[in-house]
């Protein structure tokens, strides 16, 4: 589904990605972990050419992105969803319009757009909030909108850059649940960049560990499942007391 072949990326003098090759298979939930500055985000952003590599080829959905004209690249990007740590919603658009805009970009006719927006918002459980603006939503809800927006064009791949890093543990579990559902029920291949081990362990089936712009190792794991974190105040008390023992 995604193939990187000897891809390198430098920022002025600094080489952030050093000739990396990797293959991500259809249907996987693929994790990328490593310390800050290891090059995880850069590697992810190479997968939809948000960063253009200095060398090497990037292939997604059987298309060599590095060889496409800018118009075909824009089309190819419509089948590659992306979500971000800070959600990156348009604050002056409602929830509905935030999702609808990705369909507008794909030139989907207005009537069908409406159905698809509703369908995507239902998928993430936000169909009741479609008139709200992002400022009126919680972090978890914003990330759900971002997921709905990324899914609207029925992508083959969903790239996630620290999707839960600005969320609390409960909301993290919720969002991971949504992502797992995106993978299981829609068959979308997911790539998750995170520095949180728990996140990676819970849903990924293959993980690349990065260090200094290189792949340190890639391991297959059995997803541990999303930790069930309770909402109740008692749970917080229990955890605190347990920690004190």
């Amino acid at each position: 589904m995604i193939k990187l072949h000897k891809v390198s990326k430098s920022f002025s003098q600094f080489q952030a990605i050093k000739s990396i090759s990797l293959t991500i298979n259809k249907g996987e939930i693929y994790g990328i972990i490593g310390t800050s500055g290891a090059g995880k985000s850069t590697l992810l952003r190479l997968m939809n050419l948000l960063e253009v590599p200095n060398e090497g080829d990037v292939e997604v959905n059987g298309q060599q992105l590095t060889k496409l004209t800018s118009k075909s690249l824009r089309q190819a990007r419509q089948s590659i969803g992306m979500i971000f740590q800070h959600f990156n919603l348009v604050a002056n658009k409602t929830v509905y319009d935030n999702v609808a805009v990705s369909l507008e970009l794909a030139k989907i006719p207005k009537q069908e757009r409406k159905n698809r927006v509703i369908e995507c918002l239902q998928f993430v459980g936000l169909e009741k909030l479609l008139d709200k603006y992002p400022a009126e939503l919680s972090g978890g809800q914003k990330q759900r909108v971002a997921i709905a927006r990324a899914l609207a064009n029925r992508p083959e791949v969903l790239l996630c850059d620290e999707p839960t890093s600005s969320l609390d543990p409960n909301t993290t579990a919720e969002i991971l649940g949504v992502l797992e559902n995106v993978n299981k029920s829609l068959g979308v291949t997911i790539v998750i960049v995170s520095h949180e081990m728990e996140v990676i362990k819970s849903i990924c089936n293959r993980v690349t560990v990065m260090a200094d712009g290189e792949i340190h190792d890639t391991v297959c794991i059995e997803p541990a499942g999303i930790a069930n974190i309770s909402n109740s105040p008692n749970w917080f008390v229990e955890q605190l007391v347990k920690g004190g023992e």
Partner: protein, 220 residues
């Protein structure tokens, strides 16, 4: 109504219309040319989607030069150019030329600043969704920056009114010119004060409208 105002009613109306014509032309130039220029200034910066050092430097320099001219000197300096496009350098129509030029330089800078306030991530999201440059501008940048664009235009319009008051030097007329010719030069201080009151009211209305609109469309 005070007697002086009645006495000069026709002239006052003429002056008001001239001011509106000059400021209106400035607004049109600001929106039709200043907005695209400011957008280009923003998009040609380093790391932005149309990154182009050359275009950026040239635009930046031109805008700075125009803005660093004392306005009166700019008007005089532009006389040959004005004559070239309008056919004359005297009168209200001719006055719109230097006003439009300063309007473009003024508003484009404010546009650039408003666009710089748009979070980088929003543009990234737009590009990751496959937006073209045009779509990034109209469906993302301007939507996100709209309250700043309106506030900037409000500030600009008020400056345009101020600039228009000195257009008497090239026979542009307007309220400012009227206040100087009748109020100051003919010692009709009351008339001058009334003209100032008209200007103050005008500025108040514009500022109030601009602030209100920008607040209403800001959902951030």
């Amino acid at each position: 109504m005070p007697a002086v105002l009645v006495q000069y009613e026709a002239e006052i109306w003429k002056a008001i219309i001239e001011t509106f014509a000059m400021v209106g032309a400035s607004i049109a130039a600001a929106v039709l040319i200043g907005l695209p220029v400011g957008t280009l200034l923003f998009l040609c910066r380093k790391g932005k989607i149309l990154e182009n050092q050359m275009v950026f430097s040239v635009l930046n320099l031109v805008v700075n030069i125009i803005r660093s001219f004392p306005f009166l000197l700019l008007v005089v300096f532009l006389i040959p150019f004005t004559r070239l496009i309008i056919g004359t350098a005297i009168g209200t129509a001719a006055a719109t030329v230097p006003l439009s030029i300063i309007a473009i330089a003024h508003y484009s800078r404010l546009v650039e600043q408003s666009l710089l306030d748009v979070p980088k991530g929003v543009m990234e999201a737009a590009i990751s969704m496959g937006a073209s440059v045009k779509e990034v501008i109209f469906k993302f940048l301007y939507v996100e920056a709209r309250s700043g664009l309106v506030l900037g235009l409000t500030t600009s319009i008020i400056s345009f009114i101020s600039y228009s008051t000195i257009m008497g030097v090239v026979g542009g007329g307007g309220i400012g010119d009227f206040a100087i010719r009748y109020g100051y030069q003919q010692f009709k201080t009351d008339l001058m004060i009334y003209m100032i009151i008209i200007m103050v009211i005008l500025v108040q209305i514009i500022q109030f409208t601009g602030t209100t609109v920008s607040r209403l469309i800001d959902k951030r």
